[in-house]
Symmetry: C2
Subunit: 346 residues, 2 copies
């Protein structure tokens, strides 16, 4: 009778399946190098098949609350804080704990994938949530091999197929923002996006383009700028746009922070918002509510996105399947005080 699958796996059962002795399995687990490559391979296969866990790992998994790793690619904006709150609030409800780390933006993808995945596996981490991080396929595959589920929130680059990600309807949001401006009577509308390579920024730009085209408005290349989603991007972008011979009467900024930068630059030029310049942000963070004037913005349900990411990781860790590998949460345009009909149209 084959009991290997029902009993809790031990070195002995792994050894039996792999057709080697117990000490050999022990060596493989402890990373000794005096094991032949072929033998090592067979043992690793058996370990994976039986789902072997060391006593420490089992103890961690069964006795202590589950730990999930959360990595932010920078943690300095209202945007990050909203996602973080969604995750930590959900964590206390689900009796999970969150190990938070931050990484200097862009540095994550140079982390050694084997080391990183082993570290998480050895520490008994149940899963990993990445926020706006760039990771490599190699890294994602290493986690998959270690059986550590990964969910990426708002990936800068689209994750390779087969990996789980959570985002918002960036295209629809961008379209809604620009349609709002068009309905107010604007025809000259600028766009200040994020990095050119960023998937979410690209989608917002395409929403912008779609809205213009749907209303038969010509797309002007000099009205389309990229940036970094930060405040200086808004200052620089607005400076360029407002210096044009025919400046836009409205600007759609790719983030609330960038919109604040536009606001600064507008003030420096004695332009009133919204009387002289209409402005729409993106994210719908606290900033939109706290700025003067309060910012019309495309709101993303950041807390919900965080909560959903954690729930998805836990379900995957639990062996459940997700209905969909990519979930998009709906954005909503929140009209506040930074948009109005253009001066010429009044």
């Amino acid at each position: 009778m084959n009991r290997g699958r029902t009993d809790k796996p031990t070195l002995a059962s792994v050894a039996e399946l792999a057709g080697v002795s117990v000490p050999t399995v022990s060596k493989v687990i402890n990373g000794r190098d005096d094991v032949a490559a072929g033998t090592r391979g067979r043992v690793q296969l058996a370990l994976a098949r039986l789902g072997y866990e060391s006593p420490v790992q089992r103890r961690l998994r069964t006795s202590a609350p589950a730990l999930v790793d959360l990595v932010f690619d920078g943690l300095n904006t209202s945007y990050s804080l909203a996602i973080l709150m969604g995750i930590t609030n959900c964590a206390s409800a689900e009796n999970v704990e969150v190990v938070l780390s931050t990484v200097t933006p862009g540095k994550l993808k140079s982390t050694n994938h084997l080391e990183w995945s082993s570290r998480l596996a050895d520490s008994g981490r149940r899963g990993l949530i990445l926020v706006t991080s760039e990771v490599t396929t190699e890294q994602l595959e290493a986690f998959e091999r270690r059986n550590i589920p990964v969910v990426v929130i708002d990936p800068l680059n689209p994750p390779p197929s087969g990996f789980v990600s959570i985002g918002a309807t960036n295209w629809a949001g961008g379209k809604a923002a620009v349609e709002h401006l068009i309905e107010l009577g604007h025809r000259r509308i600028g766009f200040i996006g994020g990095p050119d390579a960023a998937e979410c920024s690209m989608a917002r730009l395409h929403g912008y383009l779609a809205a213009l085209r749907a209303h038969g408005i010509d797309v002007r290349d000099d009205y389309i700028l990229s940036g970094n989603f930060n405040l200086p991007s808004g200052v620089r972008g607005a400076s360029k746009l407002l210096s044009l011979a025919e400046p836009p009467t409205a600007i759609f900024a790719g983030s609330d922070l960038t919109a604040l930068g536009v606001l600064d630059e507008a003030r420096r030029r004695d332009l009133r918002v919204p009387e002289d310049l209409s402005l729409v942000g993106f994210d719908g963070t606290d900033l939109a509510e706290q700025s003067v004037p309060r910012l019309t913005s495309v709101s993303q349900p950041l807390q919900e996105m965080g909560r959903s990411a954690l729930r998805s990781v836990l379900r995957l860790a639990n062996g459940e399947e997700l209905e969909s590998l990519h979930v998009e949460f709906a954005t909503t345009l929140v009209v506040r005080d930074s948009t109005a009909p253009p001066a010429s149209a009044v």
Copy 2:
């Protein structure tokens, strides 16, 4: 020869010291109830003396990076974010990981102290950092018994003597804020603080009082209000102050968020800041920089405070002594655009 202190403690060495058998020690450790109270006591004493750790604990301590628990009493402000960034940045530098949890404000002190401290000890946590939390002496003592160092940042209530806390020079900061206003020519200065019981708010109020007295200005009870450090406190407080028969010409708010509330209420009343009303905030968060007008504010080095908290916990966990149980970081008045001489004085 007594080798008990030099060899790594095992059940056998504990049993020998306690004068019992190995199985009995095992039972005590596993919380079985078939051990006589006296025997249990002797065993526990021996365990503590030798500093016994289970293999799981030892493995956690030596192989995985140290974990420190971080608990925020609410996590929704620029203030929290700045402290959090200080801690996480320091954590990556020190090769420590941070387990973040948030708690609904005020709920922490009703957490069972035994359960909480055991949970942290069993999970091998190296220490605990609490931010603006109210905790009980009982809880702090439970952690001390479990040998888990605790550092409190900006305790709402002063922690009992013997426990470690980190704050800023609230009194000096309050005094500097008000002296700045007095130097500008203000005589009618309002104060909107935090909760009456909060130590830090009390210190700021006393700084306010000291500045007034030093300049021979009468203290008016109706100019002194308390709140919750949040935005609505500012709105409500400003509404009261500005409705007085003789309203203040300047307001010192106990937090930047409260100052933003004051700004809102001033705008609602068509008062210009700083022309009609001068305003000083406290904390020196991003908000002060991003608001319009930019806020004159008493800046606390929040990131440094976070970093210092983590360093202190690690030193304590390492068996080192701290020079001082309470550290106060210097605040600095940052003058921006929300303060000016009063209209009457121009």
